[in-house]
Amino acid sequence: MKQRGKKGRLRMAVERFDQLGIVLVLAVLVLVASISNSTFYSADNLINVLRSTSFIFLIGIAVTYVLITGGLDLSVGRVMAMAGILSAMAAQRGMPLLLCVGAGLLFGFVVGLVNGFLIVKQNIPALIVTLGMMYICDGLVLIVTMGSPVYPLPDSFKALGQGTVWGIPNVIWIALALALLGAFVLKYTRYGREVYSIGGNRETARLAGIHVGRVQISVYVLSAMAAAMAGILMAGRLNSAQPSSGNGYELTVVAAVIIGGTSMFGGAGSILGTLFGSLLMMVIENVLLLLKISAYWQKLVVGIIIIFAVGLDQLRRKRYGLG
């Protein structure tokens, strides 16, 4: 047996680390930010970055499952708004916190079920179904609120979104717990293996005895419920359920998941990758502000950094023949 030297081990580590490019870019961004502005490492700033990342990541965890099966969910941003509004309205009517949260999650559950059913049973492309659902939820938001935010909210509801444990906001803990659970299920359970199998080859998965339709529907339910959870937490954080909440999240979340290495064609991806993808999106925004880059230039710089980070990973894959 050939003994691997130091070089061999390094090469193996580089080969195996799927998100090396993103992590390198993240590290450079953090380094530059911390050299030019020491407040990057301040607790307030780190919490700010992690909190805004958590909202994206929380939805991203479930959307990773969707993309691994070869699907797509564009409805998450508007589901987030509608679920937050429903929970906030329940809270304003004096319902117990658990029921308020339940109302929002139930909405997510139903939306996910409808999305999954139409995609699987009616064979309508996921892009069309979830795009349609995005419009439907947007319409529902306007019908229910007439455009006005649901405000103010009772203290118990605020505590959910604004509360902290050991100085760290609840949403960060919740995202972390769901990430661990999501990563474990994806890697070590039969369900996780089925998710990968369906994305790899749907027909083979079916022949292997996997209930393809059932698993596919379940990932859309997870995705919509994660969006609903984010919406409820966002309403609590702002003490107001805003009709515009989650606007544009569908693209940010999908971008974070894909930047994190999840294949757009299914079969590959990881929660860790989505974490790095979400972090990259939010860290760029924060660092550009700390570096005092003019708002006129920020979007241009964001685009270049994203392409550069993903390009580095592609280069590494090519170099080591990873396809």
Partner: protein
């Protein structure tokens, strides 16, 4: 078979909901485009038209914003009792193409007047031209286009507004300090014009006041909160935050509360939404520059009615602005 029926039923319900959400009018309500050229007697037609109640389409830039709902209320109150119909249409998110499409639809329907807020004026000028050629009265609210492209404008005069806001903030800061500004986006012409007017005033009359950063919020409270946090870290000497759009003050106040900096940063907001007025009452922000959106909607309908009845109207009307702080909060609320 039963499954198919259920699906068909569901899809029908979804389509019905979608149609409600679109906010557009049904085909029965829609009028045919005016033929115009084949009318046998123009005078008789005009007389008949005068007898018909007016139909006005209000193309809002944002269905989901309380300040525009105040304008809608104003328009409806002005129309009440006179038989005037006000169609309320527009996009759910900022989408100027959708606004232009709604105007084209209104022209095709042959409405008597169009009220609109043309966020980026140049985009609207061609379609306005078309409306005026068909004899439709076009009233701009809040944002104006070139004088020859519309009938009249009612709204806040940007320069007045920007200067008044800047002067109020400068006096509050004692003529010295660092200010961060939050706008919806860098191409929102009215906000940028107000900001430029305020900046020019400071350079001339209060040279010790500096704008250290101008950031965008996309009219999203969560983004305003996140950016405020980064701004506070980047500019530790900051004295004030000037919000030029109405969803930002809540996000700014939330971040200041979380960081225990409410007494260090002076916040000037815009408009009189419930949350903004509450924040003033709770000492979380210093004040707000209110714009009278109700008056904009109300007067716009009255202007169309006047012009359609053969009268004339002023080309530009300033709907006015008021600074509301804790000192005059109750008086302002009572007068609302």
């Amino acid at each position: 078979m039963k499954k198919k029926q259920i699906v068909a039923g569901f899809l029908t319900a979804v389509m019905a909901l979608g149609m409600v959400g679109c906010g557009s009018r049904s085909a029965e309500e829609a009028k045919q485009p005016e033929a115009g050229t084949e009318a046998p007697a123009k005078e008789a037609e005009e007389a008949a038209e005068q007898d018909e109640p007016l139909e006005i389409t209000f193309v809002t830039p944002l269905l989901g914003n309380p300040v525009w709902l105040a304008a809608k209320q104003g328009a409806e109150d002005a129309a009440a009792g006179s038989g005037i119909t006000v169609n309320w249409v527009g996009p759910g998110d900022i989408d100027m193409d959708e606004q232009v499409r709604q105007i084209e639809l209104a022209i095709a329907e042959g409405v008597d007047g169009i009220i609109c807020c043309p966020l980026s004026p140049s985009i609207f000028e061609t379609v306005y031209q078309k409306a005026q050629e068909r004899g439709i009265v076009v009233i701009n609210t809040a944002v104006d286009t070139a004088e020859d492209t519309r009938t009249a404008f009612i709204g806040t005069d940007y320069v007045n507004f920007g200067e008044q806001a800047a002067r109020n903030l400068a006096e509050k800061l004692g003529g010295k300090g660092e200010v961060a500004c939050l706008v919806t986006s860098l191409d929102t012409e009215n906000q940028m014009a107000e900001l430029e007017a305020g900046k020019a005033l400071w350079e001339k009359e209060y040279p010790d006041i500096k704008i250290v950063v101008t950031e965008t919020s996309n009219s999203d409270t969560a983004q305003a909160a996140n950016k405020t946090s980064a701004i506070l870290d980047t500019y530790p000497e900051l004295d004030a935050i000037w919000c030029l759009e109405s969803t930002s003050p809540l996000g700014v106040a939330q971040t200041l509360t979380e960081r225990g900096m409410l007494d260090q940063i002076c916040v000037l907001g815009i408009d009189d939404t419930e949350d903004v007025l509450d924040l003033i009452g709770q000492d979380k922000i210093w004040g707000t520059m209110t714009q009278n959106f109700y008056k904009m909607g109300y007067e716009a309908v009255k202007m169309i009615e006047t012009v359609k009845n053969g009268g004339t109207t002023e080309s530009v009307q300033d709907s006015g602005t008021t600074l509301v702080t804790k000192d005059n909060l109750e008086a302002y609320k009572n007068g609302m």
